[in-house]
């Protein structure tokens, strides 16, 4: 129906733009994977920091603010 209304060779043009879209979306997916991994790292660091905070007199140079708690990020 739509295909009849569009000029011929439209299929090729659409395919080309879809390839572009696909590449972009694959990139988005890869970023998503990387983000998940980073999230895991941050939780690990949070644990380490908590353990450190438990040990006396040790102010680590960097503070992971408690905003990076689990509750706010999980549904």
């Amino acid at each position: 129906m739509i295909a009849a209304a569009l000029p011929d060779n439209a299929g090729y043009v659409v395919a080309a733009y879809l390839v572009f879209l696909a590449l972009l979306l694959i990139y988005v997916a890869i970023i998503a994977f990387k983000l998940v991994r980073m999230q895991r790292d941050v939780s690990e660091l949070n644990d380490l920091a908590d353990r450190r905070a438990g040990a006396p007199g040790d102010a680590s140079a960097d503070d992971e603010p408690s905003v990076v708690g689990r509750s706010s990020l999980h549904e």
């Binding site: 011929d8 090729y12 990139y27």
Partner: protein, 242 residues
């Protein structure tokens, strides 16, 4: 890294790209002899131009790395080449689609731009394997930079050579980028700008990611965690952040 600029960049990219493709779809007139198929031109050519510029920038950053020995320049060079390579895949695929639509073959030798691009792509495809095959990090970075500089200088030379070699029997369609009528030209330029912005956004994105990962690693070390829990083999340059 300046993550704030990343937000503005990405928004700008979306706006310009959408504007560009809308112009291409609605405002630019239909091409006389190619018809609707010519619309691929607004996607394929900007991608090719930006990819080639990306390779050249990879070479420029590599020169900076060789002169200053600052590993950040090596990372910049690596990311630029990396993203240009991905765009290169897109160029070749859309080029093949365009060739099939125009001449019925998936590949034609008559388009010197496409042929020279294939050669460049094959050359840069060896960049990552080359990095992988050198163990010593510092030497790897240096050799990769030498490669990037050589390949970057090669890009224009190759283009000239291939263009001279191609016979003028078939009209070179991509040349018509130079003499485009008004509305087509503006659509093309906007698409080109959008693609360039996309490249910069992706580049910044990847740089930010690498920096953040490096900071996380440094943090882990500082907090006394076991460093290098997963020593992932990667060809990407490693940053040492304090």
């Amino acid at each position: 890294m300046h993550a704030a600029r990343l937000r503005t960049l990405s928004i700008l990219t979306v706006v310009v790209l959408i504007a560009g493709y809308s112009l291409a779809a609605f405002s630019a007139p239909m091409d006389a002899d190619q018809g609707f198929m010519q619309k691929i031109f607004y996607l394929h050519v900007p991608m090719a131009i930006v990819a080639l510029c990306g390779f050249v920038f990879g070479g420029i950053f590599a020169i900076a790395h060789l002169r200053t020995e600052d590993p950040t320049w090596d990372l910049r060079s690596y990311v630029a080449i990396h993203i240009a390579l991905i765009l290169g895949v897109g160029v070749l695929i859309t080029g093949a689609i365009w060739a099939k639509a125009s001449w019925g073959h998936w590949w034609v030798w008559d388009e010197p731009t496409l042929v020279s691009f294939l050669i460049i792509f094959l050359l840069y495809a060896t960049y990552t394997p080359l990095r992988f095959s050198i163990e010593d990090r510092e030497r790897q970075a240096r050799y990769a930079s030498v490669f990037a500089v050589t390949a970057g200088a090669f890009v224009p030379l190759n283009f000239v050579a291939v263009r001279s070699a191609t016979s003028l029997v078939h009209p070179r369609t991509f040349d018509s980028a130079d003499n485009l009528p008004g509305a087509m030209r503006s659509a093309f330029l906007v698409c080109l700008l959008g693609m360039a912005l996309l490249f910069v956004t992706l580049w910044k994105l990847e740089m930010t990611h690498k920096h953040t990962t490096a900071q996380l690693r440094a943090l882990k070390r500082k907090l006394g965690g076991e460093d290098g829990g997963r020593p992932r083999r990667s060809a990407a340059p490693e940053l040492r952040v304090g």
